[in-house]
């Protein structure tokens, strides 16, 4: 009974990543900066992991640095691009970037310029390009695809038409969909592909990017301190396995998401399914229901064994609704995000779709006096 339908928040390790992690814990514990045997073994493992991950994201190994997690990767990517640019430090970004990107801009930029999105959550490319061509703008930031509703962004087309570095948040995209061409700085999160907590920052050779941290010679001078070698090894093994099976898994996810979109719209009254139905991440689907307390629905589904996430304000610690849903003009109450993992089965999806209408009706009933 039930299913884990919040894969975007992290899944159990991919079997290949788990196996590699255990081996690397035994072999790769040394400091890769040391010249003795244990250090050299760790350095070899780290180099090999960097090569695999670089290959998986279309970068050169010397362009790739590791940090602790996806949030830190986004912070470093944005802050380094700002630090490497001219002193005017103004950043153009979509209104639906991950909060880690928005927080980094708030922290490091003199001004941020959010560009509006349409009802599907896609940024206005012409407005984005026009804003990024203003003389005081030094950095642009655009996600490969949105983490809450799955809509793909026109990052490649934007990248070709702006004179400043484009920072691309690929933290929900790597391992699930093709990456856009043209990025200058890219951030990824190994948890999105079944790896352990590990952030990846890639900086294209020639990009004006400067470490926002105190000087340190690790990780190409970009991220200070010892990288987690076993985590990098596990992330690399996971990525290699996930990319090998990606076409097949993505096709399965696309079919399941299309089925969910169709059934939710047909069986849950007063509900809207969000995001672009076609140009999207294959594994994420989101909908909002009128007259539904999102927290109550999430807890009711949890009691029935289903783990989902929500952008409704009542489920956030700040009691603010999701800025992504607000920017789209979408209903923020009664919001549910489902994200599929490689292990999600059609039977689990069908069971969820069977349970959902009753769960929504029950939560609605509680609101009536």
């Amino acid at each position: 009974m039930g299913a884990f339908l919040d894969a975007a928040a992290g899944t159990p390790l991919h079997p290949a990543a788990r196996e590699a992690l255990l081996a690397a814990l035994a072999e790769g514990w040394g400091d890769p900066g040391r010249l003795y045997g244990a250090g050299r073994r760790a350095a070899l493992l780290l180099d090999a992991a960097r090569e695999v991950i670089a290959g998986g994201i279309g970068a050169r190994p010397d362009e790739v640095s590791f940090c602790a997690n996806g949030t830190q990767a986004l912070h470093a990517a944005v802050l380094g691009a700002i630090a490497g640019g001219r002193p005017s430090r103004e950043v153009v970004h979509s209104a639906v970037e991950h909060s880690a990107v928005l927080h980094a801009i708030e922290h490091g930029a003199r001004a941020g310029h959010p560009i509006a999105v349409d009802r599907l959550g896609r940024v206005d490319a012409a407005a984005f390009v026009a804003a990024a061509n203003a003389p005081q703008v030094t950095v642009a930031a655009l996600q490969a695809a949105n983490h809450e509703v799955g809509t793909a962004q026109p990052a490649a087309s934007v990248a070709a038409r702006i004179p400043v570095p484009l920072v691309v948040d690929a933290t929900q995209t790597v391992g699930h969909a093709d990456l856009p061409d043209g990025w200058s700085v890219l951030a990824a999160d190994a948890r999105s592909w079944g790896g352990p907590a590990l952030g990846v920052v890639a900086v294209r050779t020639g990009t004006r990017w400067r470490s926002p941290f105190p000087a340190d010679d690790r990780e190409g001078g970009r991220i200070p301190g010892l990288p987690d070698v076993p985590a990098a090894v596990a992330a690399a093994a996971g990525l290699r396995a996930v990319l090998a099976e990606r076409r097949e898994v993505a096709a399965r996810h696309r079919a399941m998401v299309a089925h969910i979109r169709e059934r939710v719209a047909a069986t849950v009254p007063d509900c809207e399914v969000l995001g672009d139905p076609d140009e999207r991440l294959p594994h994420i689907v989101t909908f909002s229901c009128l007259y539904v307390d999102g927290e109550a629905l999430l807890l009711d589904l949890d009691r029935r064994g289903f783990a989902v996430s929500s952008g409704s304000s009542c489920t956030s610690s700040t009691l603010e609704p999701s800025h992504v849903l607000v920017a789209m003009g979408a209903l923020t109450s009664g919001n549910v995000r489902i994200s599929l993992s490689r292990d999600t089965s059609e039977a689990e999806v069908d069971e969820f779709l069977t349970v959902l209408p009753g769960a929504v009706a029950g939560v609605r009933e509680q609101l009536r006096p």
Binding site: D270, E272, S288, L290, Y291, V292, D293, G294, S312, S313, C314, L319, E320, P321, L325, V326, G329, A330, L331, T332, S333, G334, L367
Partner: protein, 73 residues
């Protein structure tokens, strides 16, 4: 007509709106006053989803949002 939803959290303001819209004649407006940050986007979305018109948003003296909706059906 003004419906005071101060202190009412998401999704109660739009539930209040749905319950009270029938009390104004078709073509007339109703104003929801709410301090929940989800109310402004959700009242707009409710109008779109249920076929009513979102007219305007203003700020009340105490900082609450005053959201004006026209009944269309």
């Amino acid at each position: 007509m003004i419906v005071d939803c101060r202190g009412r959290r998401c999704p109660l303001p739009i539930l209040d709106l749905a319950r009270r819209i029938g009390e104004v004649a078709v073509g007339r407006t109703l104003t929801i006053e709410a301090d929940d940050p989800a109310a402004p986007p959700d009242v707009r979305a409710w109008c779109r989803m249920t076929g009513h018109e979102f007219v305007a948003q203003a700020t009340a003296a105490d900082g609450a949002a005053a959201l004006v909706v026209r009944r269309l059906r």
